[in-house]
């Protein structure tokens, strides 16, 4: 099996990931988002239905994204798109995530070997 990231660690990062994708790609539908995430993370992050749709619906409810429906291949496809308010929000969220990653980077940097520095 692929080396997947545990859902525990992913918990707070899914929303920023989705927002970042929407910001870059314009409008996306559910399946497209999961595919993109899986591809970009080289299979390490797999979005399940149960993780994706609650977040998308919540974002819609908070007026961060809006939806458009189109008939594609005999079925309705729901596209998600950032609202102007959502655009600002996503910038904020992405920045917040970057700062968080930086902090984590500092915290999890391999500690310098004290012994080697001895002169």
């Amino acid at each position: 099996m692929k080396n997947k990231i545990s859902s525990e660690l992913l918990k707070g990062s899914l929303k920023p990931i989705i927002l970042k994708l929407l910001k870059e790609q314009g409008r996306m539908y559910g399946y497209e988002i999961t595919q993109q995430v899986e591809e970009l993370s080289k299979g390490k992050i797999v979005l399940t239905y149960g993780a994706l749709y609650p977040i998308l619906h919540k974002l819609e409810n908070d007026e961060i994204v809006i939806t458009e429906q189109e008939i594609v291949n005999n079925r309705t496809r729901v596209y998600y798109k950032l609202t102007p308010k959502g655009s600002e929000k996503s910038v904020e969220k992405i920045r917040e995530m970057e700062a968080f990653l930086q902090t984590l980077g500092i915290l999890f940097k391999p500690s310098p070997n004290v012994g080697l520095c001895n002169t």
Binding site: G30, P54, R75
Partner: protein, 403 residues
Amino acid sequence: MQYLTSEQIDAIDAELKNAEINYSHLPEDLLDHICCDIEKYLNDGLNFNEAYQSVFDKIGINGLKEIQEATIFYVKLNLMKMKKLMNFMALIGGISVTAGMFFKLMHWPGGGIVLTFGFLFLFLGFFPAALMNLRKELEQKFFSAGFLIYLVGFLTFVITGAAMIFKMMHWPGGGLLVSASMILLFLIFFPVLFFKIVRTEKNRIVNLSLVLFAFLFAGFITVSNLNSARNVSNVFQYEDLTAELAYYKEAMKTQASSTVFSEAEYTASLKLFNTLNTDIEDLKSLILNDRKDIYELNFRLNHFSLLEDVYDSRLIALKEEIEAYKQQMLKLAGNSKDLSILINALFNTEDYQLEYYHRPWIERKFDRSYVGKLTSLQQLQKYIYQTQYEVLRYQVLNSSTPE
């Protein structure tokens, strides 16, 4: 690239319907997503049945339902938290208002504070929260036509609530607020609400607010008016006073023949007493309108009295007579401290004055229901008889002591 046929899509759609997926556009989301997943497997070389099986294996037996539940839960998370808080505020506010009203009715201390606290809880806490929740549930913009009625309703509630507090605490401006709230309530709110309820299906939050509000309103009417209840208690008071009056009248007869200490002053006081007594009797019969039955008067709602105006010249004259009588009786009381205190207390014609509340003596006595006015007059009559008797008794006792 291989795509699913309409029949295959219908089969998946049937599966979603079977799981009762109906929240928002979640059915469309899931249908498309499942189709995409299956198509991916088809392109990997599986046949439809195998692909279908693998996708639904991943979702799990109750998976579809769980996805819907998770979605609803996540979307309504804040709403649910708010609802819990709202219920709590309604509970606390309701209890405080009920307790406050009860305290007020029993004239126990602290009723006003509890009542105000309860009202603030309801009108600054519960109703705004209910309004916010309602907006979210109806999924409407705050200042849209569809939501306007709720805004107006909220405004009505707030103004009426303020009117209640102002009236109960006797703050200035209460009358104006009551008029405003009455206009809003009966000319706008209730008609609109009536049509709304007739035309649309019931909404839980609105009904809850409405029931609570109707309850408060009924409570307010009861506490602030209590006209019939007050009249009944006034009738009892009137009966008591009549009995006491009879007692003093009788007592005066037994003392009347005795010698008095200061004859001239006493004769002067009797003159004042008689005028006052006649005037009170006149006013009483004016109210009773030649009817001797006070119980009948109590239930005659449209009884027209010539004493409707509190600042009637006869009442003003009465007040002056009382003051003159008081001065005369104080003279006769001489250096008896007890008697002076009694006279000053019985004929205290000063206005009632608190920090934020001022009520002239004449309004306190006569700005009442018919039975209330009658009771005030009866009380004054009892007071003059009582004073006359006490002073006479004092004079008689003093004139006999030297011997």
